[in-house]
């Protein structure tokens, strides 16, 4: 078992990969009461076209990853997971995103039994025509629930306009039409392809003994063979840097208008090849430009340009996208100011150093919380394939020269904007 100190954080990452490719990552803490256990597959809603090891190409309906997440809680025999976890007061949950599906339990007791159960129930699929049909109704209701919340609808809408080909343009839950088409065979095919040891990992954080946890992982996982020895080949969409739709105006059931704005860039153009380092610089740029201490925010506040703003960076294959969602009563002026800020980026050495200090402090603070540490490390594994164990040193290594080089490659050549207005009949 590898033991890697998390530099500057008084914590250690334990790591082991079994022969079948299954990896387990552990961050134990002696002084905590609680723990989280995550068992995840690197399979999410983005994966809908792939070639299996028998060379058979598959295109599946959308929404299968999320459908599987729902169905894993149903067991042929043995205990229902909610009932099992309920007995020890443990919380059980699951989530599907574009690139992963994860099963989580968090609690304070029964660490070993719970971990064994987690691995077992996710390793035991049980799909029948009947239980698939029942779930279709439940999932349709869930999708309807999100349709009632404008922010969720717009998150999908903006991606539809950004991406021409990549399935990132589709809602994680899939479309209602597709959900109705899903069969138990589809579920088994995808399960057998992606819920295999070489495509999965476990992440444990909190109060437990790493040796004991590893022993359980070995007992439950070592004898599991990969149904496909080679990992399936996921389709490369060769997503172009041009956006799908540059401008659009939509009306929705809202009171305050919204602007969605996205900047689409090609990652290959950036001078930094390291994905993590590039992300740090990109985040630094938007933190300085649009964070709580930014001049943009100050101006927008004073001019009454907006009432809420959210931005995020997203990476899909070789495409890097910056997405804004803003509530504004003055959408035209707001967009003008936003574009102005993005086309003349200036970041001082002081700005950079201040944010480096902020980020380092946040890393130290985060390690106090089992949940926050879990989220942080999980996101590293999904984004960079491995946990980042020396983030503080990487932050310290950031410098103005590199930053300036990256700034030069941010341009507004490919952007998508959506203006969202309240529906006429609502006024």
């Amino acid at each position: 078992m590898e033991k890697i100190p998390l530099k500057g954080l008084d914590a250690t990452l334990y790591k082991e990969t079994l022969e079948n490719g299954f990896s387990i990552y552990m961050i134990p803490f002696k002084n905590k009461n609680n723990y989280t256990q995550t068992y995840a597959t690197r399979y999410g809603s983005d994966t809908i076209e792939f070639t299996m090891s028998n060379k058979k190409a598959r295109i599946t309906p959308t929404g299968i990853a999320h459908f599987l997440e729902h169905k894993m809680f149903e067991q042929e025999d043995g205990k229902d997971p909610f009932t099992f976890y309920g007995e020890s007061g443990t919380d059980a949950n699951a989530a599907t995103d574009h690139q992963y599906t994860k099963y989580i339990c968090s609690g304070t007791k029964n660490f070993k039994e719970n971990f064994r159960f987690l691995l077992r129930y996710v390793n035991a699929p049980y799909f029948t025509d009947e239980n698939v049909k029942k779930e279709q109704g439940i999932i349709e209701e869930e999708l309807n629930m999100y349709t009632d919340i404008p922010e969720f609808v717009l998150e999908v809408k903006v991606r539809e306009n950004i991406y021409q080909k990549h399935p990132r343009r589709i809602d994680v839950g899939g479309t209602v039409e597709d959900i109705k088409k899903i069969t138990k065979e589809d579920l088994y095919d995808c399960y057998n392809t992606f819920y295999q040891p070489n495509n999965m990992f476990a992440l444990l954080v909190g109060n437990f003994e790493p040796e004991e946890a590893l022993q359980i992982a070995k007992e439950e996982m070592a004898s599991r063979k990969n149904k496909t020895t080679a990992r399936p080949t996921i389709k490369d969409y060769k997503e172009p840097v041009e956006v799908n739709k540059k401008e659009e105006t939509v009306s929705m059931n809202i009171k305050v208008p919204k602007v969605l704005f996205a900047v689409k860039l090609s990652r290959k153009n950036f001078p930094i090849k390291d994905k993590h380092m590039l992300n740090l610089y990109l985040q630094l740029i938007t933190s300085v430009l649009f964070g709580s201490s930014s001049l943009f925010k100050e101006y927008a506040r004073n001019e009454g340009l907006m009432s809420g703003m959210y931005h995020e960076w997203e990476q899909v294959d070789d495409i890097v996208t910056l997405i804004f969602q803003i509530d504004t009563k003055k959408p035209v002026e707001l967009l003008k100011e936003l574009k102005k800020t993005l086309s003349s980026i200036e970041i001082s050495e002081d700005d950079m150093n201040r944010y480096k200090k902020v980020w380092i402090a946040n890393e130290v603070r985060m390690i106090d919380y089992v949940d926050a540490t879990t989220d942080n490390v999980f996101s590293d594994i999904i984004t960079y394939n491995e946990p980042v164990t020396d983030r503080i040193s990487l932050i310290r290594a950031m410098n103005k020269k590199e930053l300036d080089k990256i700034v030069q490659h941010i341009n507004l050549e490919n952007t998508a904007e959506i203006l969202v207005l309240p529906k006429e009949d609502e006024n």
Partner: protein, 419 residues
């Protein structure tokens, strides 16, 4: 964990010493009997105080200062606690050990600047700053319907008892917002400092006397305040027959149902203990009666849960449903409440509910603000301490849960649905 409480005359200082965290958390709480027309004003005031102050006159300067203090976080939260309106200001900053000597003191001074030395001239708040906050408040008040589940809850409470604080909207009202100006808000602020009950908490690996010195220097107040009103809302009987209210929200696909139950005539021990276990068994989590029977068995709701509110003597059941299923869900919920009254739950169910409670107590100890909240409730409600709560909860019997079940009755059923 070591707890020390000091009565400093105009406020209590609570020092909770623990080496569990790398950061130090400070909470400054103000509370007073709630007045409906003041809710909006209080929300505006809280946001305004954190926007700027005399020393840091713009939000940007406030943000720069907090970043400079090793990403100190300053937050504020207004909430109703029964008959009271309560405001908590928080500061979270890394311990000096991980930053530099004096960081904590600087952080507390910073919090004090924001609360005690606002951006005021000629007995008026800075009007530009106020405009910024009012604009933001206006936008968020206008958006209240955009979260249909929450809107359904608001409308339920408004319909349960129009005259009680239960019906007050926590985010306030547009018509009250219009009445706020730089001068009347300042009067309100001065009054808050003068008349509100105040408590200050500091939690972390701190030296007690040093912590006291810093707090006392930063927060000087010499008014004497006395409590007048009980915290808990008046105990009210449910309607003899549940009142049903349906409202339309044109484009809504999934109907949002909120069922308000009165938990009437509970004893102190039932309210603090058996009611909690009752609620867990009935409707908290994936293993609860409501979830298992109504969602899993009948697929009649996408989500369904129950939450008690001890201070308001109520229990709220919330569900997302297909509107055609409304009657069916009402019937099923009635059935589950009735089954609880008849004691149709097992010793195993009770054991699991107790385990869940114990876990939540253990997890509470991992979160500074939740630890502080536990001490705050001990202070104002005379709640039992964490260890006593754990012991007493374990002693609850099925008879006590049945006794609670008999006192929980549906009062009002509200449903927000599409066309």
């Amino acid at each position: 964990m070591k707890y020390i409480k000091k009565d400093l005359g105009s406020y209590n200082l609570h020092i909770i010493k623990t080496d569990k965290f790398k950061s130090v958390t400070v909470q400054v709480s103000f509370r007073a009997a709630i007045v409906k027309e003041e809710i909006t004003m209080r929300n505006v005031l809280s946001d305004l105080l954190l926007l700027s102050c005399k020393k840091y006159p713009t939000k940007r300067e406030v943000a720069l200062k907090s970043q400079d203090l090793y990403a100190s976080q300053v937050m504020v939260e207004d909430l109703r606690l029964g008959n009271y309106l309560n405001t908590n200001f928080y500061l979270n900053t890394l311990n000096d050990k991980y930053t530099e000597e004096g960081n904590l003191e600087e952080g507390i001074k910073f919090l004090s600047e924001l609360i005690n030395h606002p951006n005021v001239e000629n007995n008026c708040f800075n009007s530009e700053a106020l405009e910024i906050i009012k604009r933001q408040a206006q936008a968020s008040l206008e958006r209240v319907k955009e979260d249909p589940a929450n809107y359904s809850l608001i409308r339920l409470l408004e319909n349960m008892d129009r005259n009680s604080p239960l019906s007050y909207r926590p985010m306030g009202y547009i018509e009250d917002l219009e009445k706020i100006d730089a001068s009347n808000l300042y009067v309100y602020y001065k009054n808050m400092l003068k008349t509100n009950m105040m408590d200050i908490f500091i939690l972390g690996d701190v030296d007690e006397s040093e912590a006291e010195r810093i707090i006392v220097e930063a927060f000087q107040s010499n008014t004497y305040k006395k409590i007048r009103k009980p915290y808990r809302l008046e105990d009210k009987k449910p309607h003899a027959k549940p009142v049903v209210i349906k409202e339309m929200e044109k484009h809504l696909l999934q109907a949002k149902m909120s069922i308000g139950c009165r938990a009437y005539d509970l004893t102190e021990s039932e309210r603090n203990y058996a009611l909690t276990l009752y609620s867990i068994i009935l409707g908290m989590g994936g293993d609860s009666k409501l979830f298992q029977n109504i969602r899993e068995e009948y697929s009649a709701a996408y989500y369904i849960n129950a939450t008690p509110n001890k201070l308001d003597n109520i229990l709220i059941i919330r569900a997302g449903i297909t509107k055609e299923n409304f009657k069916k869900v009402v019937r099923l919920v009635e059935g589950e409440l009735q089954a609880m009254r008849k004691g149709k739950f097992t010793e195993e169910d009770i054991k699991k509910a107790k385990e869940l409670f114990q876990t939540s107590m253990e997890e509470l100890e991992e979160h500074p603000s939740r630890i502080i909240n536990a001490y705050y409730m001990m202070e104002i409600l005379g709640a039992d301490d964490i260890n006593t709560r754990r012991k007493k909860m374990n002693a609850v019997t099925s008879e006590e849960i049945i006794s609670v079940a008999k006192k929980v009755k549906i009062d009002t059923i509200y449903c927000l649905e599409g066309e």
